[in-house]
């Protein structure tokens, strides 16, 4: 896209406009522009004549071409006429003196000589005046030179800034527009009445679709004397077909010598920022919508799966209770249906809970409770199972109360899953130990100064080999659908659920085992004592 050497310098602004519409970075735009400017517009400036190129603003500045300093042509004619007058005067004086000397007294010759002297005097006066004028001109001319130097500085400044700067008068005439402004507001189409500006230049409100009312246009308001501070607007016109968002300010300027109102408009292109913001907003909305959709789906799923279970379990329990009266065998079958139904319902619950946690739609219900008491409740609820398995459940560690702030139901659920797992893999006559300990924050977990509570569930089973220690916390093994793996899968759901519930609290569940028969395994559940600042209530 680098311009060819033969490219006319007047094409540079077109490139600028196109590049900007493609949303390239300013640095890229500048680097693309530079060759064209260096090659074509060296020595040309934006303040030069109105038709020195589309980039130059309309009707601004003088069209005087640059001249070498020190040779002021304004001095020339006056000085030359002064020197001529001086020579003429001198010649007249010499001629008059000669005539006076040669002529007899009161002769015509003497009169002529007097006239010559007077003429010389007049010439001298003229010379003086012309020299005076020449010096005045020289002063004025050096003033013009310093003005021009300032103009050049101002010009390069206006060229350099990314902000669009535009001066217009009450008649809608664009008096100045730097290149950045000219990209959006074509100075060549100036003279549009202010009331027509919004429509003519395609100015919209920040939503990008509602036209900006003529009286709301910052320029129009500044022409009325108002100071407008950074208003977001959208501009879409033939020069910016994709449209640009701008932050526009406007201020009134002193009246023109002719007494018309003038105002300056300054704007920044904020399109990139706007688009980035829109993208972030869209991403946020879509993530919220996705989360809500997942939550709704899971709630519906939960309802749809549980509804028929209610009928299955309800009727089976009626039959099992002997209503109507059944034979012993029929009653036993009804018990089986009931038992399988309960198991199925629990599994449905587990899968849905796990899905909810994975989908990030689980809301923890934080409140303070005594963890030791909760552990006691869980232990009691497993008493019948433990007795059936002939396993003793023992509690050691902290005594008294251990108050934590967490979701009590979900923590109890997690503890129950850990205990169920330990009982399931304990040998008959074995022992399961529940141990509670406080872990002070010192050096334990950098960046987290909360006290953590650890519950360890220790069994005396065969333990878990190291390579399987993480697998048992996964609800299922992706890619592994062998029947053996599927059959074992049921074991993992409970532990996976416990881990995800505890993880939601900012804690973790993990297993420690040597994988040696009889040495069992230790499953640790560790949670912060309170949600603290890092994990707030959801």
């Amino acid at each position: 896209m680098s311009p060819s050497p033969s490219r006319s310098p007047y094409e540079a602004p077109k490139i600028a406009t196109r590049v900007q519409e493609f949303g390239l970075e300013d640095a890229e735009r500048r680097s693309l522009l530079r060759p064209a400017q260096v090659e074509g517009s060296a020595g040309r400036n934006a303040l030069a004549g109105p038709r020195s190129g589309p980039q130059a603003p309309h009707g601004y500045g003088s069209s005087a071409p640059a001249r070498p300093w020190g040779l002021d042509p304004m001095i020339g004619p006056t000085a030359r006429s002064g020197i001529t007058a001086l020579l003429t005067g001198g010649l007249l004086l010499v001629l008059s003196g000669t005539l006076w000397a040669l002529s007899p007294a009161s002769s015509v010759g003497r009169l002529v000589a007097i006239g010559g002297v007077a003429g010389a005097a007049i010439v001298a006066t003229l010379t003086y005046l012309s020299l005076l004028l020449a010096s005045r001109n020289r002063e004025r001319s050096s003033l013009t030179a310093s003005n021009r130097a300032q103009d050049a500085l101002l010009d390069s400044l206006l060229n350099a800034v990314d902000a669009g700067i535009l001066v217009a008068d009450g008649g809608g005439e664009i008096l100045l527009a730097n290149p950045s402004a000219a990209r959006l507001f074509d100075p060549a189409s100036g003279g549009v009445p202010i009331r027509e500006w919004s429509r003519a230049y395609g100015v919209f409100q920040a939503d990008g679709v509602t036209p900006c009312r003529p009286e709301d246009l910052p320029l129009a308001r500044a022409l009325e004397g108002e100071f407008v501070d950074s208003e977001d607007l959208f501009v879409r016109n033939p020069q910016a077909l994709g449209g640009r968002w701008v932050a526009m300010s406007a201020k009134p300027l002193p009246l023109s010598p002719a007494g018309t109102a003038r105002a300056v408009v300054v704007f920044h292109d904020i399109t990139a920022r706007r688009l980035a913001g829109d993208l972030a907003e869209a991403a946020r909305l879509s993530s919220e919508a996705a989360s809500q959709a997942k939550e709704e789906f899971l709630a519906r799923m939960s309802h749809d799966l549980r509804t028929p279970m209610n009928a299955i379990i309800g009727f089976a329990s009626l039959l099992a209770e002997g209503e109507p009266a059944l034979s012993a065998e029929q009653a036993r079958y009804a018990e089986y249906i009931l038992s399988a139904g309960d198991e199925l319902l629990t599994k449905i619950g587990n899968v849905l809970d796990l899905s909810n946690a994975a989908a990030g739609v689980t809301r923890l219900d934080y409140h303070s409770f005594d963890l030791i008491q909760a552990l006691g409740d869980v232990r009691r609820s497993f008493q019948p199972v433990a007795e059936r398995f002939s396993v003793a459940v023992r509690f050691t560690g902290e005594t008294g109360a251990c108050v934590i702030t967490a979701d009590e139901l979900r923590i109890k659920r997690s503890l129950a899953e850990l205990l169920a797992n330990a009982l399931k893999f304990s040998p008959r006559g074995g022992q399961v130990t529940l141990r509670l300990s406080r872990r002070e924050p010192v050096g334990e977990s950098p960046g987290d100064d909360r006290t953590r509570i650890r519950v360890t569930v220790e069994d005396q089973g065969n333990g878990v080999a190291e390579q399987d220690q993480e697998r048992i916390f996964r609800g299922f093994e992706p890619g592994d659908t062998s029947y053996a793996s599927l059959a074992q899968g049921g074991m993992g759901v409970g532990l996976a659920l416990a881990r995800s519930f505890v993880e939601l609290h900012g804690g973790w569940v993990w297993l420690e085992s040597e994988g040696v028969a009889g040495r069992g395994s230790r499953v640790h559940l560790e949670i912060p004592e309170s949600p603290g600042s890092t994990v707030g209530p959801h």
Partner: protein, 125 residues
């Protein structure tokens, strides 16, 4: 034998049959509604003492139906038992906030249901 008029608002046919099987032998007078709107009409016409209101009804859910019913002060004496299959922690509180007097979760256990209905009937008399 306890008596009482019970309105059951339940969209699932098998679950309505289960209520029949559990409650008819107890001598209750049962009226069945399959939607919330039908339930609201029957509540006005049949004047039941207790309503078993399923929360998870389509279109208008049981909580909204309860709120609408409670708008009429004449229905204040009707005891409403919310029945939920969700078993979510917030359900009980939401049901109470909507104006329900009690809460039963599915799967329904006959003993629990009968005890809860008896408790509500005692409070009306």
């Amino acid at each position: 034998v306890p008596t009482g008029r019970i309105l059951i608002v339940e969209d699932n046919e098998l679950n309505r049959a289960l209520y029949e099987a559990m409650l008819r032998p107890e001598g209750y007078e049962l009226t069945m509604a399959t939607t919330a709107l039908e339930g609201l009409q029957l509540a006005e016409s049949e004047r039941p003492e207790v309503i078993l209101m399923d929360i998870g009804l389509p279109v208008i859910d049981g909580l909204e139906a309860t709120r609408r019913l409670r708008e009429n002060p004449g229905n204040r004496s009707i005891r409403i038992l919310a029945v939920s299959a969700h078993a979510l922690e917030g359900d009980r509180q939401r049901a109470a906030a909507a104006g329900c007097d009690g809460f039963v979760s599915k799967p329904i256990h006959r003993a629990t249901l009968l005890a809860e209905i008896r408790r509500q009937l005692e409070r009306t008399s």
